[in-house]
């Protein structure tokens, strides 16, 4: 087991910082940038998260994909940008395992991005503790609908919460005011 860990942890993450900093070119348009220190923090946290989830990355890290997928979210703010990316990174690896590697990176990222923007309204804890937990359970039970949708438009069928319906609200408002 010791030998197993040693070679797995040999896999270099040195180039990850540069990769993360490269994303500044794309994210600046949304008022989001990362400093060298923050890039280092994200890269190191990514390594910790991988170790925690007993996973290994050989090529490019998922950090860059997460940053690019989430940078245009209305809930992403410069003040919490790095912290949110770190949390999303941890959650990503956690649920790759929870979904038994049945879901691809793109499918999981699309799913996370859509729910983050939608039902979660930027709440990472809700994304982790409720939305992804429910969805992962379905995937473990054999659900594979994400293969045809690329992970988009997936959650409604599993959502057990009665959601706010803006159309219904407008109708009711009309009734109250004008009728």
């Amino acid at each position: 087991m010791e030998q197993e860990k040693s070679w797995i942890e040999c896999v270099s993450i040195e180039h990850q910082m540069a990769e993360i900093l490269d994303t500044n070119e794309s994210t600046a348009a949304y008022g989001l940038t990362l400093s060298r220190e923050q890039a280092r923090m994200i890269a190191e946290s990514g390594k910790d998260a991988l170790r925690q989830e007993r996973r290994v990355e050989f090529g490019g890290s998922i950090s860059k994909a997460i940053i690019l997928a989430f940078c245009d979210s209305q809930y992403m703010e410069q003040d919490h940008f790095a912290e949110t990316v770190i949390r999303l990174q941890e959650i990503f690896y956690e649920f790759k395992n929870e979904m038994l590697d049945q879901i691809s990176d793109d499918e999981l990222l699309n799913f996370m991005r859509e729910q983050f923007e939608g039902v979660c309204a930027g709440d990472v804890d809700y994304l982790e503790d409720t939305v992804l937990t429910v969805y992962a359970q379905a995937v473990r039970n054999g659900y594979d609908g994400f293969k045809g949708t690329d992970g988009r438009g997936e959650y409604q069928q599993f959502d057990e919460v009665q959601r706010w319906d803006p159309e219904l609200y407008r109708e009711m408002l009309k009734d109250l005011i004008w009728k």
Partner: protein, 216 residues
């Protein structure tokens, strides 16, 4: 990290040389759809690389195992050798199964007639060559629990071929009668058919007698 060739030569590869090969396997294994894999899968792929490089000990050409060979070349050549060995075993099995006789023993039938074709169908030479998939419930004389993958199947198949050649030296009725006299329930027992006949023939089971009979 090292492997030993048949001639006793030792090649050593640094972990840094092996990791890119594992990385490539991980990439194709996930169809480039996942940037990370579990430790368990990574370990399996590393074992696959080492197992494949170890196949070089079956290479006839000594120059191929020279110190000049890098890990990538060793792996590629090892994979070629491994695939050739799998093909060779498949051909030997196909020739043998035409006349194969289980003499009514269920373990013999299940392992050779039902099990081995599944090995050839599902054996994963690229990503899991160290797994021979079968429990090989019919125990042969040379059975070695340390062997894995095609190494195990190759030795196992050779034992079955030898056994069949030996048993074909007797009339079928005689073999069945011998087995019945040994134990009427032999059909459902995990026994080695050739060994029982060998004992009945007064051969001590050291294997020498079996080999002698096989040569005739």
């Amino acid at each position: 990290m090292a492997y030993t060739s048949e001639g006793g030569k030792i090649m050593q590869f640094e972990m840094e040389e092996l990791i890119p090969i594992v990385a490539e396997l991980a990439e194709t294994y996930t169809s480039r759809e996942s940037s990370s894999i579990t430790y368990e899968k990574a370990e399996q792929l590393m074992q696959a690389v080492l197992y494949t490089i170890n196949e070089l000990r079956f290479s006839d050409a000594d120059y191929l195992v020279s110190a000049c060979m890098n890990a990538r070349q060793a792996y590629d050549l090892g994979y070629e050798i491994l695939c050739r060995r799998v093909s060779g075993c498949r051909e030997a099995y196909n020739r043998m199964i035409v006349d194969f006789d289980d003499y009514g023993n269920e373990f013999y039938y299940d392992t050779v007639v039902k099990g081995l074709p599944l090995f050839f169908l599902h054996y994963d030479a690229r990503y899991d060559p160290q797994d021979h998939l079968l429990t090989l419930d019919y125990i042969t004389r040379d059975f070695d629990t340390e062997l894995t993958g095609i190494d195990q199947i190759s030795v196992y198949l050779n034992s079955i071929l030898e056994e069949q050649r030996y048993l074909k030296g007797f009339r079928r009725e005689y073999v069945i009668d011998t087995l019945m006299r040994w134990n009427r329930g032999y059909r459902r027992l995990p026994v080695n058919v050739a060994e029982i006949v060998q004992k009945a023939e007064g051969q001590d089971g050291t294997g020498e007698e079996l080999d002698r009979v096989c040569k005739h």
